[in-house]
Subunit: 352 residues, 2 copies
């Protein structure tokens, strides 16, 4: 399958998706022509996934396609932008139309949800790699930035944290420790798996749902915003460094899914104090430092607590206050009993 056949296939499937807002000229010329709405700024981000680095080689191609777009949409979400267009640069080692079609299934499924049009890119021969550039629009002057946090702000996160890190650690191989029932507080709206099962965590890792709707509620409410792709403390560190502030975070107040709690919360069946402590530490590490969550972390004035809760609650997104912005530089993590908490070394998160 030559490059032109691949491009023709991508073009045909992309056209079939029928998304063409602002597209003057799509795939097929030297470049695409796009119309940014008047009074709006253009928002641009680029993220790449490499085989064996960002996903295991055996990952289902539809999941690779979904995630390659999701990580970029999450960056647009963190700016408060509306997704509009994207390009896809796809390197593939050989002719594999079945892989490409399945990849496009996932990519275009998510594109359709967020009405983002695939308008260009290229296909090349090489080790499997997916480079996406996503373009969005936001009303001029209304974008969310990292550098506008203010001392005294609340720190909020959307959804739940630590699920992806737990799924990565489970690796799809460990048996699920025990079944659990119960409600679904904070469950990912689009996640169709049993909210208390390991499949829920696996789907959080494989098919992250970018917080586009949440991000669009936040201009005018939030002061600073970032997506949690590198882990909460690391990404919050970026906000503080850019804003010239520090942050205090309660690591035991971080929102956890039913599935994560089922997996790691101390419980009767493992009541020995050392085991309970190990589980708690593991959970803290997953939640505070595990990457790949793609939730939003934002800061807002305490006077806007009700407005934030109403705006996000109105679209079915849970948001949790987890700390506050302080003047002392650095990110200070504290446990429920106000003791400083030290993030473990990276290797720690591989538990067994």
């Amino acid at each position: 399958m030559a490059e032109f056949d691949l491009i023709a296939r991508i073009r045909e499937r992309s056209r079939h998706a029928g998304i063409d807002d602002g597209v003057v000229l799509g795939i097929g010329d030297d470049a695409a022509l796009l119309q940014v709405p008047a009074g709006h700024e253009l928002v641009v981000t680029a993220d790449t996934l490499n085989d064996g680095v960002h996903f295991p080689h055996a990952t289902a191609p539809a999941d690779v396609g979904w995630k390659a777009l999701a990580v970029n949409l999450s960056d647009l979400a963190a700016m408060g932008a509306r997704p509009a267009w994207c390009t896809l640069s796809l390197s593939l080692p050989g002719d594999d139309p079945a892989w490409l079609d399945a990849f496009l299934d996932g990519f275009l499924e998510l594109a359709s949800i967020h009405r983002i049009a695939l308008v260009g890119g290229d296909t090349t021969r090489g080790p499997r790699s997916i480079a996406v550039t996503a373009l969005g629009v936001v009303e001029a002057g209304r974008a969310l930035r990292r550098d506008h946090a203010r001392v005294g702000d609340d720190i909020w996160v959307t959804g739940t944290l630590g699920d992806a890190a737990a799924a990565l650690a489970l690796g799809g191989h460990l048996p699920w420790p025990e079944a659990a029932g119960g409600g679904v507080p904070g469950a990912d709206a689009g996640n169709t798996a049993d909210p208390a099962g390991s499949a829920f965590l696996a789907e959080r890792l494989a098919r992250p749902r970018p917080g586009v709707a949440a991000g669009r509620q936040l201009p005018g409410l939030a002061h600073a915003c970032v997506d949690i792709s590198d882990g909460l403390l690391a990404d919050l560190g970026h906000v503080c460094a850019c804003s010239g502030t520090g942050a205090q975070v309660d690591v035991d107040a971080l929102p956890a899914s039913v599935a994560l709690r089922t997996l790691l919360e101390p419980r009767a069946s493992c009541a020995s104090p050392p085991l309970a402590a190990a589980r708690r530490e593991c959970m803290r590490a997953f939640q505070a430092t595990g990457g790949d969550d793609y939730e939003l972390c934002f800061t807002a004035s305490p006077s806007r607590r009700d407005a934030v809760a109403a705006a996000l609650g109105g679209i079915g997104v849970d948001a949790t206050r987890i700390g506050r912005i302080v003047a002392t530089p650095g990110v200070h993590a504290l446990t429920a009993d106000a003791a400083p908490w030290q993030a473990p070394h990276r290797g720690y998160v591989h538990f067994g």
Copy 2:
């Protein structure tokens, strides 16, 4: 060198370049914020270079950086756009700050010439691969497209053709057959090598100079335009397919550099008819089917011949009429004696 160090290095060097037209927020947030000028459309293209596929592993990193941007700028040129911003997704196998710095030397040198700002991207671990997305702007409704060629149009090309294919075939290993002097008709304006020497051809391959200035002269003059990256006949085929036309091309009228003519034109020292014929065929193949030229091919009404020559001549760009758009589908190549010319198989272009 971790990802953040790499990004910090790229950010620092990019800032130093001092290009910030329309950049509200550059590298360092989840995404960049950009201001498209009123009354303009956004032009977007993405092209990737992979190590060992698009350039030999030993290629000077500064040349890789230059070319990775050049191939994208050439696409913007073919749309008649003004380059504005770009993203860079860089996969590197390991820590090699010296390679990165040299790569940025070439990338940012060309970026500076065309005043295109590097506003985002990412660095990942993986086989060496460079994915660039370039953004430009063009007055609304004025972009050059592939699908607007009209029967009766002249077909033009800028600059000279076949140099890159010859350099690729020479591979930097073959000795230069003989020295030659003379004028520099059609020589690439920025190419600093001896216009009759093999280094001239090598530089045409390693550091193509995108026809941005030429492209910006053509809206209102040209009907259709494409960049010659896949080879003249192939790219002209795209124009014809998109426009519902055919084309007739005189392969012996294609503009050749002094260096290419020195290399391949039949001359006294090899006057035997079979050798002369082989040289002529080789030259035709390089010029008509060799890729990587990054010149522009465009069509325009015969009534605009003087206007085209004046517009391009005014900025020091040579343009040559090489055929015309016809109603019969397909690209019909003819020799000077009006015989049909058949493009050789791809392997043919490796002469020795």
